[in-house]
Amino acid sequence: MKGAQRRAPWILLSPFLLLFVLTFLLPVVYAVGQSFTAVDRRGLFGEDGITSSFAGFDNYARALADPTFVASIGRVLLFGVVQVPVMLVLVTVLALLLESASARWPGFFRAAYFLPYGIPGVIASILWSFLYLPGFSPIVAGLGKLGITVDFLSAGTVLWSIANIVTWSYAGYNMLIVIAQLKSIPGEVYEAAKVDGAGPFRLAWSVQLPLIRPALVLAAVFSIIGTLQLFAEPQVLRSVSSAIDANYTPNFAAFTSAFTYNDLGVAAAQAVLIAVAAFVLSFIFLRLVSRRDS
């Protein structure tokens, strides 16, 4: 009986564990191994034999020696420093407005703001690419009639055009996280604030904002990781913008190395670097936030 009890959790866990190990842990281990591997070819193409060998940190050195890959890291950091705070401010304002006592049709607007999240990233990027493309875009045409010439796809602007797509897509989702947290604030807290004479702004600043901080921290961590993973938006916009190269973001660079150049060693090294960067950045952010708490 006792043995059966001890076995039961493992038997119940086994379907999960099996898939987890096969499709998750092993490939991660394999990718890390691949990132330390180089190939050597004999003959003009390797027709006389191809051998793999341990390469130490060569692939990592190559990845980091590539100026376009390093530029892509700088690019997403800049993107994150600007886009994440802008989106979080927008998200907080939207959530507070929709949850304020004087809001009209909050259910309708909640759904409306959330709607873009239901549109897959690739489709959203295609939609926006036509809103950016001169000759197709009513926005560009309309601004042109007002005497304002804009180029949403130039080297200086396209990163912010991508930021706009990302904000459009994910603000509604993050807003819902914040609203959920707002809804969990007990009514007594509001009543107490009212008794103390707090107006709507004082209520938002001193009561609601501190209490939704955990939700904002969560949204921020997701957004930092998401920023490092930018891929679909630049890949789609590349077909209409000459300012986006095949290594525009770190993920794009890893994809290009793996599936365009068929250079799996460097691709694996780049992927490991991205994962490590996401881990380190999230960790630093959480440390900063928790230090302020204590």
């Binding site: 051998t51 679909a232 994962a275």
Partner: protein
């Protein structure tokens, strides 16, 4: 992207890792390269072949063959076009030991598949007896020494498609030389500031490569088991300086690469008035709305005193994958497909191939005037001489895509006020040497 979790990061790693896992089996552990193994004799019974291709409706061509050859049945399997999925699928299949018997591979990507030992040397199955059925320049692009790794199936000799009505309005004629091209481009710019003679695709500067090919460059040559790279020679420098001048005078519209969505709109209203591209461009030009009868075709501009009449852009070969158990039968079918008038006509009609691989037969419909192109018999007038006027010494490298992206970066820098393209070439060459060494190849620079 913003809501993806830590799990998604790991998943991204995993995806790349899985690809790595699949491909590594092929690269690292292949027992003996396919072309060092004994040849596979012709089958004694009926065989079934699969042909991985992105040509549309190629099955209709196979069906004609199948009706006459009950012992060799060919099935066309549609895969994503080249770099948009098809090649990834082929690399994975090679690594896993499966895949089709025949595969469509673009000329410029053929050597990249050789890096994986992915293709059968067709000279071991008697292909050298059929070399006369093809153009020598096409054969030189699929050969390494005496080995031949693909059969030309569809090529792309280049010409100049232009809006005849716009040229007449501006008062210019198609440029015969690149020097004249500059004059025509300036005249078009002066006629209307919104107009450009041509667009240039910064993300895919394949046209630059083709112009160098035309000018007589030999970027890659083979010396024994060593590659020799020459991206800084005189022909390449001349073309780069030409482009630098054109970029400097704003003669190209850099936001309108040929055949992008914006390009079609611009070509329809005359903001773009010409395109220098492969013969396959005719089908795409015909889809520019409301311009029937307004286009005409001229030969590609030439370099004075040097180079060749034309170059190629695009084009595909039919290659036999190393995993095929029936190379003999596969080659038999491919030869029929690429040399028989009936098959060529069908490939033009149903699959839209850009140019017949056979020097003896360009296709029935291509021997007649075409109303869309001002009633010009442009295929015989322009593209037959273009197909014959090719640089016979040009071969493709095993790092075409890497080089194309490096050139794209150089063009992007040159067109945004940085180092000129001509000055960037030595750096691109160094990068090419580095990439090839990293692939485990032996390589040196020509100079």
């Amino acid at each position: 992207m913003t809501v993806t979790s830590r799990r998604a990061v790991l998943e991204a790693v995993t995806t790349v890792g899985l690809g790595a896992a699949l491909a590594a089996c092929g690269a690292g552990t292949a027992a003996q390269p396919v072309n060092a193994q004994p040849t596979i004799p012709a089958a004694t019974g009926p065989v079934k072949l699969t042909y991985w291709t992105w040509l549309k409706d190629l099955q209709s061509v196979c069906d004609v063959w199948n009706a006459d050859h009950p012992d060799i049945q060919v099935e066309a399997v549609w895969i994503g076009a080249g770099n948009s999925g098809g090649y990834s699928k082929m690399y994975s299949a090679l690594a896993a030991g499966g895949g089709g018997d025949i595969a469509q591979v673009e000329f410029q990507l053929l050597p990249s598949f050789l890096l994986q030992n992915g293709l059968v040397d067709l000279s071991r199955y008697g292909f050298r007896d059929h070399l006369d059925s093809f153009r020598p320049a096409d054969i030189s692009r699929v050969s390494v020494g005496d080995s031949v790794f693909g059969v030309p199936q569809d090529t792309g000799p280049m010409g100049l498609f232009y809006r005849r009505d716009v040229f007449e309005e501006v008062g210019v004629t198609p440029p015969a030389t690149w020097q004249e091209w500059l004059d025509v481009a300036r005249a078009v710019r002066q006629s209307d500031p919104a107009r450009h003679l041509e667009g240039f695709n910064v993300n895919d500067p394949g046209n630059f490569t083709s112009y160098c090919m035309q000018a007589g460059a030999e970027w890659f040559t083979v010396d024994g088991e060593e590659w020799v790279v020459d991206l800084t020679g005189e022909p390449t420098r001349m073309v780069a300086q030409f482009l630098d001048q054109a970029f400097g005078e704003d003669l190209f519209d850099l936001s309108l690469g040929a055949f992008t969505p914006g390009w079609y709109a611009a070509a329809a209203d005359g903001r773009i008035s010409s395109v220098i591209t492969g013969s396959w461009g005719d089908a795409l030009v015909e889809s520019v709305g409301g311009t029937e009868g307004k286009w005409a075709v001229a030969p590609m501009p030439r370099w004075p005193d040097t180079g060749f009449a034309s170059a190629t852009l695009g084009g595909s070969t039919a290659a036999v994958m190393s995993t095929s158990q029936h190379p003999h039968e596969a080659l038999e079918f491919i030869l029929w497909m690429s040399t028989t008038p009936e098959a060529i006509d069908l490939m033009i009609k149903n699959s839209g191939i850009g140019w017949s691989p056979s020097p003896d037969f360009i296709g029935t419909v291509r021997q007649q005037p075409v109303a869309f192109f001002s009633g010009q018999n442009y295929n015989e007038e322009v593209f037959v001489p273009a197909a014959d006027g090719q640089n016979p010494d040009w071969i493709w490298s095993p790092i075409y895509l890497e080089l194309n992206d490096a050139l794209s970066t150089a063009v992007r820098t040159a067109t945004s006020g940085g180092t000129s393209l001509a000055d960037a070439l030595p750096g691109v060459q160094d990068r090419v040497l580095d990439i090839m060494r990293h692939k485990g190849l032996r390589v040196r620079s020509a100079s």
